[in-house]
Structures are given as structure tokens and as C-alpha cells.
């Protein structure tokens, strides 16, 4: 049995919780995307996509380190690898298996544009440390979205086969992508508190979702996608992740991801 840590699973306060959600998303997304390493469609893309995955795990670390330094959370290794499934706060989209390359690309596109919006918002926070983390990580996400946009455009405007496969993937990903913006415990009170302090940097999940959706639909239309025909605007989000209720895919992922860690949870790496 792994030794359970003495620190509380959730560092207290809404800011810490919000950052933990971002970090958990990045950790699981990075782990999933790294499953393509060695299997990518062409060598150059294999390297590029693996590098994106590596960035994402690095982003998770940046926030886990902040949580340890400023919010009383445990060591990043413990936070990342020693929490039970119901204490993980990642969304359902990042948990899904990699599927085919169309699925992974559409997910990458949806996910990194959402991350871009979160980092843009976070870079307005009146907290020097977090502001500089956000500004630094934004550069990497700028590349992630450029990479994703280039593939989306290329395959949606490519052959009949590539277009149909991308459209099918978009339909599959969409409800999960909407779930990235699930409202979370404490969000509402925090928004009131932030407004009271004159802090407008975090607009809340509903507003982020609207912003994301508007930009995503506009891009799809420029690539010739009939979004009405796909029924995207009527789709309902897949929820639960932010409350610790996960899709069936997270448990096996955690099992695999933490296998080495659990051999000796107190080991120094």
C-alpha cells in the first residue's frame, strides 16, 4: 500500500482549486498525447506531437509547483501520482483514449484553444508569480494552436476521406469538449468575491465556454464545415470531471501512469 500523504488532497481556496483543475487537465492530456510517440503518421509529426505532449506535462508541473509553494499542497510528485481517481479534477475530454489520428487532432485543437483562453485570462491576474507563469506558458500554447489549426485546415480542406474522418471526429469530440467548461464547486462564490475586489480576470466557465465556442465555430466555418448540419450547437456537454466523477477511461490510465511511482511512493527522483 502506498503511504498516504499528510497534506490535504485539495489545497484550500478557489484559486488553488482552479489551478489544480488546469494542472490535472494538462497532466492527463500530456500523458494521453504521449501515447502517440513512435506511432505518429509521419516522422516529423511524431516528433512535433510528442513535443506538445511533453510541454503539457511541463505545464502541469509548473502549476503543481506553484500549489506547493504558495497554497500548501504536497510535493508535485505526490499531487500528480498519489491521488485517488475521485480526487482528480480533470475533464472527460482529456481522459479519452487516443482513438485514431483524426480524434486526437480534433481533441488537441479543441483543448489547446481552451487552454489559450485560460492562459490569456490568467495573465491578467494581480499576482506577479502566476502572471509570469501564464505569460511564459502562453508562448508554448501559441505554437500548439498553430500546429492544431494547420492540421485541421489541411485535413478538412484535403481529400474526401480526410474531410469525412475529421467531421466524424468533430461530432465525437464536441460534447466532451463542452465539458471542459463544467461549473465547479466554489466557482460562483469566487466570481462574486472577485467582482467585489474589482478583479475581472476570470470570467467564469460559462463565459469561457461561450468565447471558446464562438471562435471554434467560426474557424470550422472558414474551413468549409456546415456546423448546423453537424448539429454542434444543440449538443449537450459531458459533465462530472470537475466533481471527481470520471469516464471509465481515467482509472486504467491512472493505474498505468502511477505504476512505477507506487513501487516506492517516497522515492526521490
Amino acid at each position: 500500500m502506498p503511504t498516504m500523504s499528510n497534506s490535504q488532497p485539495f489545497p484550500s481556496g478557489p484559486l488553488a482549486r482552479y489551478l489544480l483543475q488546469i494542472a490535472d487537465d494538462q497532466l492527463i492530456m500530456g500523458h494521453r498525447n504521449s501515447e502517440w510517440t513512435g506511432l505518429g503518421p509521419i516522422l516529423e509529426e511524431d516528433i512535433a506531437f510528442s513535443s506538445v505532449a511533453q510541454d503539457q506535462v511541463g505545464h502541469a508541473l509548473a502549476f503543481y509547483e506553484y500549489l506547493q509553494a504558495e497554497c500548501g499542497a504536497d510535493h508535485p510528485d505526490q499531487t500528480a501520482f498519489n491521488r485517488p481517481e475521485n480526487q482528480m479534477l480533470c475533464n472527460g475530454l482529456v481522459e479519452q483514449p487516443i482513438g485514431d489520428y483524426a480524434f486526437s487532432l480534433v481533441r488537441h485543437w479543441c483543448y489547446d484553444h481552451a487552454v489559450r483562453l485560460r492562459y490569456e485570462s490568467l495573465s491578467g491576474i494581480p499576482n506577479q508569480t502566476l502572471q509570469s507563469i501564464a505569460v511564459k506558458l502562453r508562448g508554448e500554447v501559441k505554437y500548439h494552436t498553430f500546429h492544431a489549426d494547420t492540421w485541421m485546415k489541411s485535413l478538412l480542406e484535403g481529400s474526401e476521406e480526410s474531410r469525412l474522418r475529421m467531421l466524424a471526429a468533430i461530432k465525437e469530440v464536441w460534447p466532451l469538449a463542452l465539458g471542459m467548461f463544467e461549473s465547479w464547486v466554489g466557482e460562483e462564490d469566487w466570481l462574486v468575491e472577485l467582482a467585489g475586489n474589482g478583479q475581472g480576470w476570470y470570467p467564469g466557465e460559462a463565459a469561457l465556454r461561450l468565447q471558446w465556442q464562438e471562435q471554434a465555430l467560426r474557424s470550422l466555418q472558414t474551413w468549409g464545415v456546415d456546423v448546423e448540419k453537424l448539429g454542434l450547437e444543440k449538443m449537450e456537454p459531458v459533465l462530472g470531471g470537475r466533481q471527481g466523477y470520471h469516464t471509465v477511461h481515467l482509472a486504467p490510465l491512472l493505474e498505468e501512469m502511477t505504476a512505477v511511482f507506487r513501487l516506492d511512493p517516497q522515492a526521490e527522483w
Partner: protein, 126 residues
Amino acid sequence: MPILSLDPRVNRLQAEQVSAEQGPVLAPGDHWPSYQVFHQRRRGEKHSSVGIVHAPSSEMAMALAKEQFGRRGETSNLWVVCSADVLEMDYADEDVFRTTPSKSYRDPAGYKVNDKIDAYKAKNQG
């Protein structure tokens, strides 16, 4: 007969081997053109050729070049140029350069000015 390889990427092509002498028959899009990548370390420095990537468009070439050639060390900027757009000299014409190494009078090392500079320095210091 389709070409079989240990590399699944080659098998996915389902390309036909016509004969031992001739290469595989590829459909358009099966084989992407190559792009030359030029890397600039810092602003103001020159861009240097660092290698190639394969891509279906220049945008994709840039997206892929960033990770192949800009993921380590310092980078300020990248260029990508479709290899087909580069005018290359024919190696059969290499003889145009053959006599160049013997034209040492074109080499600035042939000018002996150091004695004069040293003399000038000595004079002005003293």
C-alpha cells in the same frame, strides 16, 4: 505486388512495386515534397540551412520545422523554402571551381600589412 516493410508507414501507402529497378508507384499526396529549413539564432544574425522536413504545404512545413529544429537551444526565427524552388548547380559543373584554390592572390592573407600596423602603433604609443 505491394511493397511490405517493417515500417507501418510504408505499408499504409499500399504502393505497388513494379520492378527492382523502378521505384514504387505513388499516388499524388503519398509522398510530400521536402522543404529546406533555415534557422536564425538571434535577431540580426543570418539564417543558416539546418536540414529538411517533409510537408504538404509551407504552413505545415513551418509547423513541423519548429519542433525539428527549434526545440533545443536559442531560436529567434525560421524560414522554410520548398526544395523545388531552390535553383541548384549541377555537380557536373563543379569544374568551374577547380582552379579557385590556387588563386591565393585573392586571399586577403596574401596582403602583408601587419608590419606596417605594428610600426604605426609603436610610433603613436611612443
